[in-house]
Amino acid sequence: MSRAELWIIILGGMTVTYLIRLSFFFFIPPDRLPEWGRRGLRYIPPAVLAALIVPDLLLLDGTLYLSIANHRLIAGSIAALVAWRTGNTWLTIVSGLLTFGLLGLL
């Protein structure tokens, strides 16, 4: 692929990405959203986060991996417990990574 083509991709990719990110900041005022749209906004963070977390814990190479041999699932569950009890981000991460590391040694 030529360098000119690479630059077309970089600049084109930048333009479309940036327009998407700008969309609601610039072009669609929040108070012009319909009622259901405005109420739907509060579900975006939990939905997005769940869709990011769950596959990381439950999938191995794209297939469901429900087993006590699934170290990510075990470590993630312990981290969830720590997050729930403490609400502390670092403690959650450290407990999860430690559990994951220890399980790897077994």
Partner: protein, 235 residues
């Protein structure tokens, strides 16, 4: 105070960097091995600044797809950012363009997640400085890690499990958003569909489950309506 908010935003992005930096290094190394010159490889990170889209673009470039198709793919992969834009818009819309331009530039998955946790806490005062700090921290780390990958190759082993820091961080951040039945319904729906649709291309396995989760959250909210009177019996 703006300075303190900025630094807090940067600090709160740190755990996420554990997971992101190895990906940046791999991206740089992969771009070089796909035959992309160093300047252009770095420019992908500088100008597009969207990890998943960059990875997919590089694999399409290696497969000699047409530039038009690649740009279209980047568009589809990043479509989910529109949700983030909508979600944060009520907090950002009143700001001057001088703010909105850099903030939307920095609106990645990671910046959205950390910034929206900040906005949840209320007292918005200088929260846009927090948003800027957290976004800029990620941007700088993405540039440096890309550069490392370009210059040194994939020296950092990817299999040491640090990428596991990402779901763990998200775990700490999702709990405060689960405040009632509709938010739980949104999260459970999105989680379930993220498994069912895991093999969809173009990051649609994230966008579609998220949209379905939002829809179900709204549906549950409407069904259990009368929010003014019936709030007490929500668990």
């Amino acid at each position: 105070m703006p300075g303190i908010e900025f630094l807090r935003g940067a600090r709160d992005q740190l755990p996420i960097l554990l997971g992101v930096v190895p990906f940046g290094v791999i991206f740089g190394a992969l771009a070089i091995s796909a035959g992309i010159p160093a300047l252009e490889a770095q420019s992908f990170s500088l100008f597009i600044f969207a990890g998943s889209a960059q990875f997919i673009a590089v694999s399409l470039i290696a497969g000699a797809a047409s530039p038009f198709l690649i740009i279209l793919t980047i568009l589809v992969v990043n479509l989910r950012h529109m949700l983030y834009s909508a979600s944060l818009a009520p907090h950002v819309y009143h700001l001057s363009n001088l703010w909105k331009i850099p903030l939307s530039w920095l609106l990645t998955d990671e910046a959205f997640i950390v910034a929206s946790a900040r906005y949840r806490k209320g007292s918005p005062g200088f929260a846009h400085w927090y948003f800027l700090g957290t976004g800029l921290m990620l941007w700088v780390a993405w540039q440096l890690s890309t550069f490392l990958g370009i210059t040194l190759g994939a020296l950092i082993p990817s299999g040491i499990g640090l990428d596991f820091a990402l779901p763990l961080t998200f775990m700490a951040l999702i709990l405060p958003t689960l405040t009632d039945r509709p938010t739980w319904a949104a999260a459970c729906t999105a989680g379930a569909f993220s498994i069912l649709l895991a093999n969809l291309p173009f990051k649609l396995g994230l966008l579609i489950p998220a949209v379905l989760g939002i829809g179900v959250g709204l549906g549950v909210e409407m069904r259990s309506a009368k929010p003014e009177q019936a709030n007490g019996d929500e668990a």
